[in-house]
Subunit: 335 residues, 2 copies
């Protein structure tokens, strides 16, 4: 199925309204999820929409809850997301972090009782649009191994780092697992092997077989012991600073709900003009892109570059939606 | 050679004084480098000491320079390290970030014109001792590939993340390369193969042969494209916020001097008692340590755990110093 951005956004919005979202939240959430799909991350857009509606029905997502202030310590503020929709919590926390950093130069907004925020890059792009530098991450249910273990005890704790640039922001959006379970699932369905080891099989051997990892639940952190260490520290910092749930706390229900998140914004305009910031960023990007490609058929790129092209193409040609997902969404729209 | 901590520290201090360091800087720098050696990171302690003296002789390290304030924007301060000794710059920036975060909840101190800071974990342990959470990283000369490239264009940009805990702080200290060139060099000398691919050979194939990577200069980022992306973003953020040199700027001399660094401190005491912070941290650590080991002979650990044991052992039994390094240090002490 191919659909235009506006049509998709309106459809999702109407379903959200039927499910108890007020107009403001339905409009913003449907826009974020449609945008995620538009830029090529349907896994954190339409593909996850039916699961989101399910979580609303189960009461894990409160459609109209908004973050409320818990504590304010100058440049660091703690907020309670009250189990509102994850992308809206993150959107509002980003807004607040950007505003607060205009006062303090640097600011940190933490959320407890948040929900799955879908595509972290969305908040990076948002902050970069405002000319700010953003670092944000979330904790998650245990789905990755600590190093030397054969039991998932750490989250894949996705992170975004974003830097503004007029020719295209530089936005890294990644989980700490080598591959997401979404990716493993797709590869398994298509009968393809992973290009690099993605986890252990049930015998404790590293494997490139997505089905074996899906079965063992032993996904590999990036850089082996290094990514495992980062996941532990990200969980510690988000949990302590937000006063919210840790990965271990989330393991009690194993639901993607109630997580802790952190948003750190820097206001570079305190020191420079937009032009000066842009020149530094552009110089670094150009240097990276000047690297000799590995092979004749490889292209060196920077984080966020592909997003821009995909977005343009999908705006022009429409967005391709998986048929199974489309059927589910049509069903939701008729209920 | 086996030497006691105090003896090592006094020896290094006396050599520093001979090389133009004032007493305060000689005392602090020799203590940091001896401590790095004590905790098992001789590669960023005594092993690098002769190179440090060389950089002093060449004028790249100014023995008595101290960071001076450039700009203050509330919670974010820019400092010029004036090419002072890297570990002292980082030590003082950490002190300042910790102090500033007591005012603002969160604080960011940036350094331009700094120098190689040796073991980043040292600053993490320092902040954690003060009960604070610290994130700090540095940029570096290009020594790692951007993804899909066969030319080193990004730094390995080491990072530390630290969280306080009474039974032992949790401190991650890592470069973004899968293996350091120091590690590759040691493995090559010992004729050992890397346990996991560490880079490309000159033909563009992933390899576990440390000599091949040493030869090609194509070290692999952790998580392939993911670590490469992090390195780009770390460089962008440190360079923009400090107003200092980027990895590309540092490539002009390919000297480990003049880099940009960033120190972000959070004051958790704003929200909690030390006891409460400790309970959260301990709960997360215990959960990680409870994971079933991969094999009978593997032990699951948390970042920083091993440091404590090594430190205790070396305090008791003395520190083993490589004979070649020891000879060089003795020579320096006699000059």
């Amino acid at each position: 199925m191919i659909i235009q951005f506006n049509e998709l956004q309106k459809l999702l919005s109407s379903i959200l309204i039927k499910n108890g979202f007020d107009e403001e939240n339905a409009e913003l959430l449907s826009t974020i999820l449609s945008e995620n799909t538009l830029v090529g991350v349907a896994s954190h857009g339409v593909n996850r929409f039916p699961a989101l509606i399910k979580l609303v029905e189960m009461g894990h997502i409160q459609p109209n809850a908004k973050p409320t202030s818990v504590n304010s310590f100058g440049g660091w503020e703690q907020w309670d997301a009250n189990l509102g929709p994850g992308p809206l919590n993150a959107w509002r926390a980003t807004d607040r972090a950007v505003e607060l950093s205009k006062e303090h130069g640097v600011a940190c907004v933490t959320l407890k009782n948040s929900n799955h925020w879908m595509r972290p890059g969305a908040y990076g792009w948002k902050a970069a649009e405002a000319g700010h530098i953003l670092i944000c991450w979330t904790n998650a249910i245990p789905m990755m191994i600590p190093w030397e273990a054969r039991e998932p005890k750490v989250g894949n704790n996705p992170i975004t780092l974003a830097v503004p640039r007029s020719k295209g922001h530089i936005v890294l959006d990644m989980a700490l697992s080598q591959y997401s379970y979404g990716k493993l699932s797709t590869m398994r369905r298509e009968g393809r092997e992973l290009p690099y080891p993605g986890g252990y099989d049930n015998e404790g051997n590293l494997t490139t077989d997505p089905a074996a990892i899906y079965d063992s639940n032993l996904a590999l952190p990036i850089g082996y012991w290094k990514g495992a260490g980062m996941a532990i520290l990200f969980d510690l910092i988000a949990t302590i600073l937000s006063g919210g749930k840790s990965t271990n706390d989330l393991s009690e229900t194993m639901m993607d709900t109630g997580m802790s998140q952190i948003f750190i914004s820097f206001d570079p305009f305190k020191a420079y003009s937009a032009h000066a910031i842009n020149e530094i960023a552009d110089d670094i990007v150009q240097s990276v892109l000047s690297a000799k490609p590995l092979n004749e058929d490889t292209i060196v790129s920077y984080p966020g570059e592909r997003i821009i092209k995909t977005r343009e193409e999908n705006l022009k040609n429409g967005i391709t939606i998986d048929d199974v997902i489309w059927k589910k969404i049509k069903t939701l729209s008729l209920q």
